[in-house]
Point group: C3
């Protein structure tokens, strides 16, 4: 069994942003040399997500609007968590979108359907954050 680990670093300019990290994850897979196995990609921070969906700007605006409607950022004092913090909404948004994805590795490739792309969803950005890529297989 082979095992591979890498941290990807990101820093968004805005508080909330979606970044397509598929090329970086593919580069990890290539570097690992693993051809059959499973790949885990997770946010290492609890106000961010890793999820799979479509790379379409309109859809990303729809995600933003949806998440703001069900768990709005403001007013900050609507949340118990926001005594010294102001990011309770980011913890909730990340929970809805998910922390991690598992991807099958087949013949050295991310085993994806036609439109699947991996996104980092930042909900409390403007600081350095990390994403973990772990691959096990052969």
């Amino acid at each position: 069994m082979k095992s591979y680990r890498k941290e990807l670093w990101v820093e968004t300019k805005r508080r909330r942003e979606f970044l397509n990290i598929t090329p970086q994850v593919q580069a990890c897979l290539l570097e690992s040399g693993i051809r059959e196995g499973l790949l885990l990609c997770n946010a290492m921070h609890i106000t961010a997500s890793v999820f799979i969906n479509d790379d379409e700007q309109g859809l990303h605006r729809d995600f933003e609007n949806f998440l703001e409607r069900i768990a709005p950022e403001k007013p900050h004092d609507q949340y118990f968590h926001n005594g010294s913090e102001d990011n309770a909404d980011a913890h909730i948004k990340r929970s809805v979108m998910g922390r991690e994805v598992m991807v099958a590795i087949t013949e050295g490739k991310l085993d994806f359907g036609p439109w699947e792309q991996i996104f980092y969803g930042e909900f409390d950005g403007r600081r350095k954050k990390r994403i973990l890529v772990k691959i096990i297989g052969e």
Copy 2:
């Protein structure tokens, strides 16, 4: 380490539908010959889910009502994604329900609690779609 891969094909009659795919996933496991390991089952399309819950028709109607309440299909023009498309709600619904499940494989079986069943959740159906089953172990 052994590795197994199979695509399951589905086509629902309605736009939104929940299908119990546990028997097909169990058949994959049997075919794989793997007795200890991990099984990944994921939708290969970004308007569909794979999730684990109860096989109870009333509950499935509750899921439908819940998802329609938080991310309604219509009016289509409430979503930026719906310029040439009409399925933004399906992308959101799938994000809430999740893309994939991981199941422990123990002594050749899906290592499940008493009521766990695997469902394919279709949110933009009436066309052929695929589900991926990947198993690694021994």
Copy 3:
């Protein structure tokens, strides 16, 4: 390839409660002797979650309020599932928060970012329930 399996038992006093199970999961990892691999931790019941977030009481109250707002427990008869049952809301809440987490195992440790902690989210408690820990690796 090594494989490890353990069931953790829990019983909450209230219908809804969040329990930090990180110490128990770490004990499983130590017992397994696995140093490189993947760990699956999932609720074995379909009205409960396992998720990763912050161990902060205010935030947990915010999660409770958020989930009650989007999928309220009462009135029970708003749900089709609640003929003989009264826990449809618990099935929905668990779907939003997720059934399982996957954690990378690196150098014998849960490969976590600074604040990541594993929680069991109970949404229909006051009875004995199980959590599965499955680890594969070397």
